[in-house]
Symmetry: C2
Subunit: 147 residues, 2 copies
DNA sequence: TTACGTCAACGAGATCGTTCGTTTTCGAGG
DNA sequence: CCTCGAAAACGAACGATCTCGTTGACGTAA
């Protein structure tokens, strides 16, 4: 069987809306979707959104729903951070065979940052390293379980 | 009509082989493909590779072919660097709405780098900035064509 | 009670990605 | 010339993605 995409393009758009709103009905998702620049000329039908949300719930477990009155309210099951981290990992594996540094190079190549952005980048790296160090310090007696 | 993927998963695998070999026949691509860890249990048929290469040439312009004797030799039309840069841009746009710094954060989150890797990262950034500066210095009379 | 509007439920179709089997072509060796 | 083997050409299938139209249920207002 073919490889099933964890999150497809349309599904990601819907997830972004759910992350922004916290939760939403089919109608609300449809409205938000049709505000997007790509869809203003090409509105998406109600039943389309409905079908997508069904699939995202039943087949992929990306969302769940609660019933509120007579309408379904959909809620994302995974956080934006976690989902995006997983998507990023898949991409790095697929394109760069997991080599994060090569991905960095491509990223810096994509749009050369300004001087200020370079500084912010360095700050980000310092911060990431500081956190990595903290994580590496404490485990004196808890080193037994390595995840 | 549905959005057509610039480079699909299988096509990317094939492109990687062509980049590594420079050029290759259908048979060679098939052989290399079936050496991959994911395909050893699941070999790909000759005609499958043939169809893919056809599409990659006719519909997508990713490769071209020359005839050598009676066999087609396929050659990638775009460099690995350029293609990967385009793929990366698409991904950043799709997932991060173009925000490269957020992509960086996700990347650093994906697999916390070691101290040595942090250093290499900083060196990379320095290098990228130096090149950016050089590009910004010289353009006294050559600023007319920006490509 | 009847009509109306909204919602979930179905069924279905178009295109794409991926996969092959089969047929045709064609050059080399007997 | 005939056969054999390898390569290209062709047609076809299946699941996945994305898209709707239609139908039936249900609550509300007239």
């Amino acid at each position: 069987m073919r490889k099933v995409q964890m999150v497809t393009d349309r599904e990601l758009e819907i997830l972004k809306i759910l992350w922004a709103l916290g939760k939403a009905s089919v109608r609300e998702v449809q409205d938000e979707l049709n505000k997007l620049p790509d869809t203003v000329d090409n509105p998406v039908a109600y039943s389309t959104v409905q079908t997508l949300l069904n699939i995202m719930e039943d087949k992929k477990g990306l969302v769940r729903h609660v019933v509120e009155g007579r309408t379904f309210i959909y809620i994302p099951k995974k956080s934006s951070d976690r989902t995006i981290r997983e998507l990023t990992k898949r991409f790095v594996d697929r394109v760069f065979d997991g080599a994060i540094d090569r991905m960095m190079v491509a990223l810096l190549d994509t749009k050369p940052p300004s001087a200020a952005e370079f500084d912010r980048l360095r700050a980000m790296i310092d911060e990431a390293q500081k956190q990595a160090d903290e994580r590496a310090d404490e485990p004196v007696g808890s080193k037994l379980e390595v995840d």
